[in-house]
């Protein structure tokens, strides 16, 4: 079990060294190859997910569980797309499915965010207390600044809005970024030291160590 940990540590340390120190071309080239491995390994993880999902839906159809008919849609879509894609990803029908079904469905789902942000804003921007009132006023100024008509109707919102974004908001965000960056550094040390193995799919029960 030590080999995957050693590979992780060596690969990680090489990347860090390349960032800080001038390295020979051989090391830089090796690092570029290592980075391309990431995409390939990520794709392999998809296989496991696809198998699990397919088993779930096939079972659901077999056992006639509630809403089993939707699982038929999954199975048929999956088999048809997979067969076409395995034949050739340049296949016209496969490309048609991607361009006219997968891609627009994805875009439509993503666009839902806009509506939920609006209703979330309504929920949040209510002056229930003093601090919520400050939030309401600040957000109103920034929103006015961001819309074209805001600056025409009320020109002072531009400098005030910019100040709010650059200073109070910027300072808060930087604090959070410092904290999370330190967290990532801590994780890096634990991974390189072989004390954190979740990225390898290994999880050790640690309760009681403390």
């Amino acid at each position: 079990m030590q080999i995957p940990i050693i590979i992780t540590s060596v690969a990680g340390i090489l990347m860090i060294l390349e960032y800080f120190f001038p390295m020979p071309d051989a090391v830089t080239g090796f690092n570029v190859t290592l980075r391309s491995f990431v995409a390939i390994i990520s794709a392999a993880a998809l296989i496991l997910g696809t198998v699990v999902l397919s088993i779930f839906h096939v079972r659901k159809v077999g056992e006639r569980k509630s809403e089993w008919m939707y699982s038929i849609v999954y199975v048929v879509s999956f088999v048809a797309t997979a067969l076409l894609g395995l034949g050739s990803v340049r296949n016209e029908i496969f490309l048609w499915i991607y361009s006219n079904m997968t891609s627009p469905i994805g875009a439509a789902l993503y666009s839902l965010t806009a509506f939920y942000i609006t209703s979330a804003a309504y929920r949040v921007f209510r002056a229930r207390n003093w601090s919520a009132g400050v939030l309401l006023v600040c957000s109103f100024i920034v929103l006015l600044m961001l819309i074209p008509i805001g600056a025409i109707l009320l020109p002072p919102v531009v400098p005030i809005g910019s100040w709010l974004r650059n200073y109070p908001s910027g300072a808060g965000f930087r604090g959070m970024i410092i904290g999370t960056s330190l967290g990532v550094m801590g994780l890096g040390v634990r991974v390189f030291a072989g004390r954190q193995k979740e990225h390898l799919g290994i999880r050790e029960e640690k309760v009681g160590e403390q």
Binding site: L53, L109, A120, I177, I178, G186, G188, Q196, E198, R203
Partner: protein, 259 residues
């Protein structure tokens, strides 16, 4: 040719200092001096949410959003989310609350399934666990519609939004709020923290997610790592104050930082 690439000397020094601190505290921890972690109020919130689910006879959702574990910035919050899941699943097993844990990535799915199974076994309630229904694999993208529909059909009474959250944060939390679920949210993705803070009943911000994970996992390595990270925070604080003073009195420090 310089030994260190131009403009990266300060970064290298900071890295060495912080990594050194983390390693020092880890060494201390292995010799028995484990840093004490403050108990976060979110620990009690987990039990409160699950208790509410039991009282109402409705399930809870444990969502982690992005769990692509080959990305270092996603791995850190995901690991913390797994540690919190372990505690949450144990509490759910003990209290008899039903939880759903949808996952959108293969590797994370296996870990989540293992975490939940171990938790139920630890509580001696493995007979109550239907693993394929509790930990679900959903394809990324399709998960949005499935989870929203499931939230409404099952009338979720509680929801946890912990991990690396992106645009789905607002979609899921808003639906959970409409269903009437009590929510705990926490992420380190800065642009989504406001949504979780605004919509969730309880929230943990940024690095608190790691602290909660470390506290609940009772892991000496995690606790010592947090202590080392605190040294980094003190250094950052000191540099911010020093930089503000120098900039105020008119001393240019940009050339020093770009060494």
């Amino acid at each position: 040719m310089s030994i260190v690439i131009q403009g990266r000397v300060v970064g290298l020094l900071a890295l060495l200092l912080i990594v050194g601190s983390i390693l020092y505290y880890m060494r201390q921890a292995y010799s028995g001096k484990i840093p004490k972690l403050r108990r976060l109020s979110a620990v009690d919130v987990i039990d409160e949410i699950l208790g509410r689910c039991v009282e109402m006879g409705r399930p809870a959702y444990y969502l982690m959003d992005n769990v692509v574990m080959n990305n270092p910035s996603v791995l850190a919050p995901t690991v913390a989310a797994f540690q919190i899941l372990s505690y949450t699943a144990r509490s759910a097993a003990r209290l008899g609350a039903k939880i759903f844990v949808p996952v959108v990535q293969g590797l994370a799915y296996t870990i989540a399934a293992e975490v939940v199974e171990e938790a139920y076994m630890a509580e001696g309630k493995i007979q109550d666990l239907n693993l394929p229904e509790t930990v679900m694999y959903l394809p990324d993208g399709a998960d949005r519609m499935y989870i929203i529909n499931h939230m409404w059909s099952e009338q979720m009474a509680g929801a946890f939004f912990l991990g690396s959250w992106y645009h789905k944060a607002v979609i899921f939390t808003e639906n959970a709020a409409r269903v009437g679920a009590m929510m705990l949210g926490g992420t380190d993705t800065t642009h989504n923290i406001p949504f979780l803070v605004a919509i969730c009943d309880y929230s943990i911000i940024g690095e608190e997610l790691y602290a909660l994970g470390a506290y609940l996992s009772e892991d000496a390595t995690q606790a010592s790592s947090l202590a080392g990270q605190d040294v980094g925070k003190f250094i950052a604080l000191l540099l911010i104050i020093l930089g503000s003073i120098l900039a105020t009195v008119g001393i240019d420090i940009t050339s020093m930082l770009s060494m």
